[in-house]
Amino acid sequence: MGTRVYRKRKCVDWVMRSWCIVATLFAVVPLFSVLAYVFVKGIGGLSWNFFVELPKPVGELGGGVGNAIVGSFVLLGIASVVGIPVGVLGGVYLSEFGSNRFGKAVRFCADVMAGVPSILIGIFVYTLVVLSMGSPSALAGGIALSILMLPTIIRTTEELIKLVPTSLREAGLALGMPKWRVILRVVLPAGMSGIATGVMLAIARAFGETAPLLFTAGYNRFWSASLDKRISSLPVQIYEYASSPYEEWHQQAWAAALILVLIVLILNVSAKLLTSSRSHAR
């Protein structure tokens, strides 16, 4: 091979590699600058009181987003109680019995739902739940979030259950277990850590959603007394603060945003840890 050909190849290699690096930088820079910007802007507003106190009226110093943090977790709790069982069982259905027409339709709907703008889900729950209950409530917000989580949970559960080897199912069946018991006691446990990862990712996504909560959970400046009352949540709180004309509320919005980002980060990292502990076990 001539040295010229060789030199040309090296040159092309160098150009392509630089190109990839530059493109990666372009992708990564906005990502990190968002994180860094939120961190820089928000860190000044953080204090113990910010985590536990109620928002204060304009003009008064201090105040916090305690009710919004609690509210977010309450909403997530309701969403999980509704969404996880339905989603996991739906996924089990699709993988074990879903090779018929109905299964295909459900799978298609789940895929479409995953791409539906979240505000549509908000409107849907608004007309269905909020209008009949008379006012936005924690319950309605939780239901909206659970609908948002469903497609992810259904599809990850289905995929992970399909990964469980047939030999394990056959082992269970050959021990004289009925099929439902094999699914419950052998197949689900074998896919559990992966399913848990999918559920965590769905939760992390739901945690940051604002649009479906705007008309369903509403906004509440105080601690929420019951599940059929309006409830505050971090994303909606940030929305309220950021769209206000007051400087100190903007500062609080940054601090709340930082908390939100940190919680989502923790949820994502724990999902990662779950996955890696699974690959260790194999």
């Binding site: 090779s99 080897p165 030999s167 394990l168 056959e170 082992a171 269970g172 069946l173 050959a174 021990l175 004289g176 277990m177 009925p178 018991r181 006691r185 052998v186 446990p189 074998a190 559990m192 076990a281 194999r282």
Partner: protein
């Protein structure tokens, strides 16, 4: 050219383990034939004109034979001859696969297991199965694996520890795992996993144990341990073993059935089948001329 007889002598000399000492002549006249009438002879399990399909492909083309009680019956034949499919029909595991179909009769103690009112789940707890690849439950400990068949079916076990020790002892695994019973079943070696699977099947006290090439994924040492095991549990339980290894069939079994292209070519005492095969096809196969 080596004859079948010489071949048999060769393998008798080289076989270190598990040659069954006492070989009861079992209704020999009846055993020599394959017709449905003769298959009605005494036996733990009796198969009459069994046919099995995957979709449109007929895998088993009308097989009748009888499995002797508390004896080891081997099924040999070249790859794809339907031997695995055949034993999967004996505990109704064949129909688990989509598109799979079975016709014919399989009598277990004179009751046809393909009768409409029979629950396949019950049959499978009476007729256990060990698969080609060891498949312990990865999320369970060794102990839980052994007890899985009972526990997951909600059976109360009066003395679980004793049962675990007993069946692991039967499966010749107790000595190796008695101190690590709480470790994952997947942490064992391949051969140990296979013995764990045998123990798991034995815990249900099956009347028949079906083994589908239980040694094909194992090395020679693990294989010889499993063979010893087959020999010892063959005394307490009826065994049907599929193997593509003729020496293994000769070492462990009392009776051997030779399958070819979905049909039962010959079924006889292992000694006779390997020394004086009645059919040309059998002789060709056991002397290695094809397959």
């Amino acid at each position: 050219m080596i004859t079948a007889k010489q071949m048999f002598q060769l393998r008798s000399m080289s076989a270190g383990v598990g040659v069954p000492e006492e070989k009861m002549p079992f209704n020999k006249e009846n055993m020599l034939h394959n017709s449905a009438d003769d298959a009605k002879s005494v036996g733990k399990m009796r198969v009459e004109h069994l046919q099995a399909w995957f979709g449109k492909a007929e895998i088993i083309k009308g097989v009748s034979l009888s499995v002797a009680d508390k004896k080891v019956t081997a099924i040999i034949g070249p790859s794809g001859c339907g031997k695995s499919t055949f034993i999967r029909c004996l505990n109704r595991m064949h129909e688990v696969v989509p598109q799979a179909l079975v016709s014919g009769k399989v009598f277990l103690d004179d009751v046809d297991i393909y009768e409409k009112q029979i629950d396949p789940v019950k049959i499978r707890s009476r007729v256990g199965m060990v698969f080609q690849r060891p498949n312990p439950f990865p999320t369970m400990s060794i102990r839980e694996n052994v007890l899985a068949g009972l526990k997951l079916n909600g059976v109360k076990i009066p003395r679980p520890d004793e049962l675990v020790e007993k069946v692991l002892e039967q499966a010749a695994l107790w000595g190796e795992v008695k101190d690590i019973l709480n470790r994952s079943g997947a942490s064992l070696s391949g051969g140990q996993q296979q013995r764990l699977c045998i123990a798991r099947a034995l815990a249900l006290e099956p009347e028949i144990l079906l083994m589908d090439e239980p040694c094909s994924a194992l090395d020679p040492i693990a294989t010889s341990r499993i063979e010893e095991l087959i020999h010892s549990i063959g005394k307490i339980c009826t065994i049907v073993i599929v193997t593509h290894n003729m020496q293994q069939a000769a070492r462990v079994s009392h009776y051997t059935a030779f399958f070819y292209m979905g049909e039962l070519v010959e079924f006889n005492d292992t000694d006779i089948l390997f020394t004086k095969p009645g059919k040309q096809q059998t002789e060709d196969y056991i002397t290695g001329r094809f397959g």
